[in-house]
Symmetry: C2
Subunit: 396 residues, 2 copies
């Protein structure tokens, strides 16, 4: 929602869905720079604004767009009405600025849908048990949309974005990148968690958990976009569906961690308690009663995580704590990996050909991630895209 | 609240009150042009925006300022927390954009005040029994402040504005105008209802009803401003306290109204049902079973009121309906009028000296209002200010 014109066009898309007989509920985010403008005001007044007050402040952005969207829909002759998160109600825990949804009450929305109205619901925001406004953090409007689709038992949750679907990798980096017609939740979760910015990972997880078919579409409403479902790709499906990457990673290594029960948890617990996402975790086999533990975090959280790890290491009597925030992550994702051998080997060979050092590795059933120097990221992604022939629709 | 700087300065005023030991609750309005900007977005999307959606939209403005004000107070080391109308809760009827307060629940605020915190409450907005956001119309933040002061049993309700008090008349029109140290609720209500823009009339009525001493102050917090209370002015008090005026008036006359019971109500009821304020009402003595009814409304409501009067007149079999929206109102106000004779005479003589025609007159115990041509308003106010010697502190 960048401007009144965007709202008008989104209203047209909703009206078109409606005209073909669909029952529609709409979730909107704040307008373009509104959230950043509000955050700027807060920074002007306070060095460390209270998170509660930030949620109060930022949630006003969606309040503006839901009212405008309802007006735009009414102007098209449709019955429409806006709903705040607290009015729906979208119940969350009380973790301001990073709240999690506990329950979506649907009685009010269902009653309104039954009258033929189009509810327009504020994304990104909920309300806790005490009536405090909470927000979900970046991209939280996608999460709202999926949670609502799940709660209402919707046939499909369509996310209108500025791209026309999910690509094999970022087309700005690799011009040969292709739009995927469909992809599984698992693949999309891996892609999203590995840095693909199309959808927020929590939204995809929600969609997978409640089996809500999710479609990523251009905001014009045109094209089929990319459908994200549980269905397995057919046997002809490619081994690797896509490549994700994240420029802003940091790694932290604690050496000489005593090999006693709970030592790893003692280091990682304070970090996760601070709501810092720990991504890759690597440890070597203990030697002389000690081991080295490495983990990666987002670059924004680097300083805090490093300090927390330092404290824990000191308390444990561990050795040195080292860090590096000039690293990036590349991930290849594909459900086909399950049944194909040698994918990791091909990946490492490709990187070796480019003389790219791999600093950390982490694998899951359908994903392999590597941490590399930030300066190597672009050439690495391009080489992997070629190597796995993702530019060819029939690659396998 | 025009900018972050205004918020910071208002926070300083609150901190100063607090430092001298006062228990303080703060009510804030939206930032400077925020409300107008939002209304502009709505007009861009809809020719006749739903009032419910307008309230949803506009109430976001105060949501921004309460969060920012709480942040500014916290930055000064004070404990503070923002509250929406729906969180307080300020219960209203369901008349969107012109809602009336039914009840102010104080339990949450009192609990918070008891902890030493400074609650920052959103002005202008409330919530109806169904949880819908309502707004109070123009100047509604003053109303919130007084309603809250009354509900909390505050010693004084201070309204920080861009003027340093209530004046004998608008100093922009009459440079000799003087600030009044004190004035009664009744006088202030008359001044406010007659066009003085310092305070919203509903706020003053509320203050009078619950006997909340109201002080109008400059936003710097400096000076004693003007105190509005029930106390009668002493015997030395001036006969006329102030002159109010309103440029944007319109008059409507229905001729040949049948002199039957309910005829006047039949004409005025549809107008007031449309929430149009009817101000002056004048009728002549019936002759030949018919009378002429004239009344004044705000210029914004002129077209609608004229149409409604036309319909009612036709239904009643009345004569012609005439209107004029090029008129203005001048009012002189003073509790001293009760005990002084000849005030009206002096007023009419003054206007006659200026060759100003009086089109309509209405009097109350402490006020005389006249409707004149708009082009005569300024010279009329200046002449009356001189004539009643309002420029002299000891005038009587």
């Amino acid at each position: 929602m960048a401007s009144p014109n965007h709202i008008r066009r989104a209203a047209d898309v909703v009206a078109a869905r409606r005209a073909r007989g669909d029952t529609v509920a709409v979730v909107v985010s704040a307008m373009g720079e509104a959230t950043e403008d509000l955050a700027g005001l807060a920074r002007d007044l306070s060095r460390a604004p209270s998170r509660r007050e930030m949620d109060m402040l930022l949630s006003s952005g969606e309040q503006v767009t839901i009212a405008l969207m309802a007006m735009a829909l009414r102007e098209l002759g449709l019955e429409s009405r806006s709903f705040l998160g607290s009015q729906v109600r979208i119940l969350t825990d009380s973790v301001f600025s990073k709240a999690h949804i506990r329950e979506v009450e649907t009685s009010r929305l269902e009653a309104y849908l039954a009258t033929g109205g189009i509810p327009v619901v504020a994304g990104f925001q909920g309300v806790d048990a005490e009536g405090e406004i909470t927000t979900f953090g970046r991209g939280g409007s996608d999460t709202t949309a999926v949670a609502l689709a799940a709660a209402l038992g919707a046939d499909e949750c369509q996310i209108l974005t500025d791209v026309d679907g999910v690509y094999t990798t970022d087309p700005r980096l690799v011009p040969e990148a292709r739009r995927l017609e469909r992809i599984t939740f698992d693949e999309m979760i891996e892609l999203a968690s590995q840095g693909s910015r199309v959808l927020q990972i929590r939204a995809v997880k929600f969609a997978g958990k409640y089996n809500v078919p999710l479609r990523v579409l251009h905001m014009s409403g045109q094209g089929s976009g990319t459908l994200i479902t549980y269905e397995e790709p057919d046997v002809e499906a490619p081994v690797v569906s896509g490549i994700a990457f994240n420029r802003d990673e940091a790694e932290i290594t604690v050496t000489g961690v005593p090999d006693i029960p709970g030592a790893i948890a003692a280091i990682l617990r304070p970090v996760s308690d601070a709501r810092i996402q720990v991504d890759m975790i690597v440890m070597n086999s203990p030697r002389d009663g000690c081991m080295d533990l490495s983990f990666s975090v987002g670059r924004d959280d680097y300083a805090e995580a490093l300090a927390l790890a330092g404290k824990s290491a000191a308390a444990l009597g561990a050795g040195e704590v080292r860090g590096n925030d000039q690293v990036a992550k590349i991930s290849i994702v594909g459900v086909g990996m399950r049944t194909h051998a040698g994918i990791a080997t091909r990946l490492f060979e490709t990187l070796a050909d480019q003389e790219i050092n791999v600093r950390m590795v982490s694998t899951s059933e359908i994903k392999i991630s590597v941490l590399v120097a930030r300066s190597d990221m672009e050439s690495g992604v391009a080489a992997i895209h070629r190597s796995f022939e993702l530019d060819r629709p029939d690659s396998s």
